[in-house]
């Protein structure tokens, strides 16, 4: 179960979601509902191909200005030296403000150890709004519960100026087995 609050320049929205995993079959379903200035929902269904890989399909609908569907693949690769990589690839068909685009994205995070990761991702858009986006990011766990992430993003799409952005984040996690 999850909940969130997103604040955009043009408004804000509360999001509620959850994921159900059938461990016997490996199938999972994910749903998300957004309410506020931007209403919408997102549905996702997928399959654990193994304990280290998933494939999923999704549909996203936000008010009357954004609609998309696509597929994602995720793979964790364990190295012999104890490090590992998380690799992701996706393709998404987007209809935003009546402008169609196909977005192809690949990305990965390299976990240097259990406390540090560095990652990068690239997205390329084809269609009414050609362009691409690129971001680099790093995460540091200062202890078992608290992590910080810092990154930079660069985007350059048709009908908008190229832009460099900053990513700042923090997570705190508590668990008891």
């Amino acid at each position: 179960m999850r909940a969130g609050f997103d604040d955009y320049d043009g408004g804000s929205a509360l999001t509620f979601g959850g994921r159900y995993i059938d461990k016997a079959s490996g199938f999972f379903g994910d749903g998300e509902l957004s309410v506020g200035d931007i209403d919408g929902f997102r549905l996702e269904g997928g399959l654990y191909l193994s304990s280290a890989s998933t494939v999923s399909f999704f549909y996203d609908d936000k008010d009357d200005f954004f609609e998309s569907f696509g597929a994602e693949y995720k793979q964790v690769v364990f190295q012999n030296d104890g490090t590992y990589m998380n690799l992701e690839a996706g393709v998404e068909q987007i209809d935003q403000f009546n402008a169609d685009a196909t977005l192809v994205s690949v990305g990965g995070d390299y976990y240097l150890d259990k406390n540090t990761s560095v990652g990068a991702g690239v997205s390329v858009a084809f269609g009414d709004a050609d362009g691409f986006g690129f971001e680099v990011q790093g995460t540091k766990f200062v202890d078992q519960n608290l992590s910080f992430n810092l990154g930079l993003s660069f985007t350059d799409y048709d009908n908008s100026d190229s832009d460099i952005g900053l990513i700042l984040g923090a997570r705190y996690r508590i668990s008891k087995m």
Partner: protein
């Protein structure tokens, strides 16, 4: 008063005995055309991972 103390004791005992896994966080993404501030929280009904088991976290 006794009922309140008893209830708190039961809840405390249940909390100690129950496994849980939860996360809260926030992220700010700046851009000329749209800054986005996200605040989020997750509660996992099943304890699927230890805090540092990134590989499991990535998939679940």
């Amino acid at each position: 008063m006794k009922k309140i103390m008893l209830t708190l004791a039961v809840l405390g005992f249940a909390g100690q005995a129950m496994a849980y896994d939860a996360e809260v966080g926030g992220e700010l993404r700046t851009a000329d055309f749209n800054d986005v501030l996200s605040i989020f929280g997750s509660y996992f009904l099943m304890v699927l991972k230890t805090p540092q088991a990134h590989s499991e976290k990535l998939l679940f």
